[in-house]
Amino acid sequence: MIRGENLSKRYGDMQALAPTNIQIREKAITAIMGGSGSGKTTLLRLLSGLEKPSTGHVWFGDEDIAAIPESRLYELREQMGMLFQYSALLNSLNVYDNIAFPLHEHTELDEEVISTIVTMKLEQVGLRGFEELMPSELSGGMAKRVAFARAMSMDPKVVFFDEPTSGLDPISSGVITTLIKDTSDKNHMTSLVVTHDVHAGLSIADHVILLWQGTIIAKGSADDIRNSNDERVQQFLEGRPDGPIPFSRSTTTYLDDITHKPGTVRLEP
């Protein structure tokens, strides 16, 4: 359903994503994993059409969403949902109105029907009775659950999850992970989950893609990834500080920097 072809992204001199070919499996959960700055979110934003690629195409069905007119992109987005890393609830609207927002915008449903759908979605995320709260009154976990309900309100075919468990306690994290798994399976959705949470990613994904420095270094089922011989993959899975993936991003040596060797020190006077 979604396919990236020779997809790359540059921000000025920085190559956020090297030319990449990627296929997102239909009606399955694909987890894109990798460390901070590996290009996961860039890839997600390219595949969802929020960013234009520097090179390549993003095929949604047989349409290149990087090249179609804006009006057509908005039509296609009625089939998509997205859960943002920081929830991105509309802070002028309460919980009910946030979840009902896509329904008000894109359907002609009676308010009574919309109200029923909102109640169902809130029950699904365990927040029935919290309709009147404003986003500023919600905890991080609650906001994520409301954002999840909003992403699901139109029963989309494709849902993008950007770091769905980041900043959450283990229970809230488990709730969100279970919700993603259950909803994707029951609704036969195509789900794309960007996460650096190894446990969550491997436990729910049918297909895993591992990124490092803007390049795909491994892909396959969760078991394929677990059993990979690639040292980089194993280092990421085990969270080891030492290995082929360096912890330090410095390009000069530590000794040169602390001894103020000419040409290495970049401190302002």
Binding site: Y74, R77, M80, M82, A88, L89, L90, N91, E105
Partner: protein
């Protein structure tokens, strides 16, 4: 390197920097025009943004009424005081009404009214849109198939373009009224002469001039403040910087445009 070459380098660097800044400003102006034109072109696209336009018009217009009334009143009052002091030297106190009205309608109403709207409403437009960018609300709107240019920018630009002329009209009326109170009640200028001179000297040409200025200023404020918010760097510091820049650019823009329009309507 020769001595003259070494002396030339800082000058070259200065002009290089100046050129880059000029190009960057030009690029920004082009981007703002394109974004504003794009937003305005969506006025004919469905769904209509009537409800959001009314909400913005209320927030901008009604919300700015008190500050406009206070500014208008005190401007009219101080103009009457200063005008009386000057005119009394020539024995022309009867011209006070005409002087106050012409100053307010032609110049002070549009400019001071625009400044007040920039300070009260323009800055909040920029900050609000900027915060929506920081918190990914504009991205969320996009992903919910709602065009943020149509939903966020368009109603604010149109509301500002309509609210500013109305607010400036109110500013003018209150300013002239306050000038009358000070001139007639406090300084004992003949009320008949005050009103008669005002009616005789203020022409429709003066009113059209002030009216045109207020429409242009309103439109300009809407375009600048929405643009600065929408293109602000999505960080706390970026939003703060964009808000300050929006106020400065819109205020300077009003003064420059005021000169250009005055030279046309003189």
């Amino acid at each position: 390197m020769s001595e003259s070459g070494m002396n030339q380098a800082p000058a070259l660097q200065f002009f290089g920097r100046l050129g880059r800044r000029a190009l960057c400003s030009l690029e920004q102006l082009g981007d703002a025009t394109r974004l504003g034109a794009h937003a305005l072109s969506l006025i004919v696209a469905r769904p209509w943004q009537g409800k959001h336009f009314i909400l913005q018009l209320y927030a901008l217009g009604v919300g700015s009424l008190i500050i406009i009334a206070i500014t208008g009143a005190f401007t009219g009052m101080v103009l009457a005081l200063q005008g009386y002091y000057t005119l009394a030297k020539f024995g022309s106190e009867s011209l006070l009404g005409a002087g106050v009205a012409l100053s307010i309608i032609r110049e002070l109403g549009p400019v001071l009214g625009a400044f007040m709207v920039i300070g009260r409403a323009g800055s909040s437009i920029t900050a609000e849109i900027g915060i929506m960018r920081v918190t990914e609300q504009t991205d969320a709107l996009e992903m919910m198939a709602v065009n943020p240019k149509q939903r966020i920018l368009l109603p604010r630009i149109i509301a500002t373009a309509i609210a500013v002329p109305l607010l400036i009209a109110i500013f003018d009326v209150i300013g002239i009224g306050a000038g009358y109170v000070v001139g007639v009640e406090l300084l004992h200028v003949n009320p008949g002469a005050y009103v008669a001179e005002m009616v005789a000297k203020v022409t429709m040409h003066d009113i059209y001039g002030g009216w045109t200025k207020s429409i242009v200023f309103g439109f300009m404020i809407g375009m600048i403040c929405t643009y600065m918010g929408y293109r602000s760097e999505p960080t706390t510091e970026g939003v703060a910087r964009a808000t300050t820049q929006a106020v400065v650019i819109a205020s300077v823009g009003v003064l420059i445009m005021d000169y250009i329009l005055t030279s046309f309507f003189l």
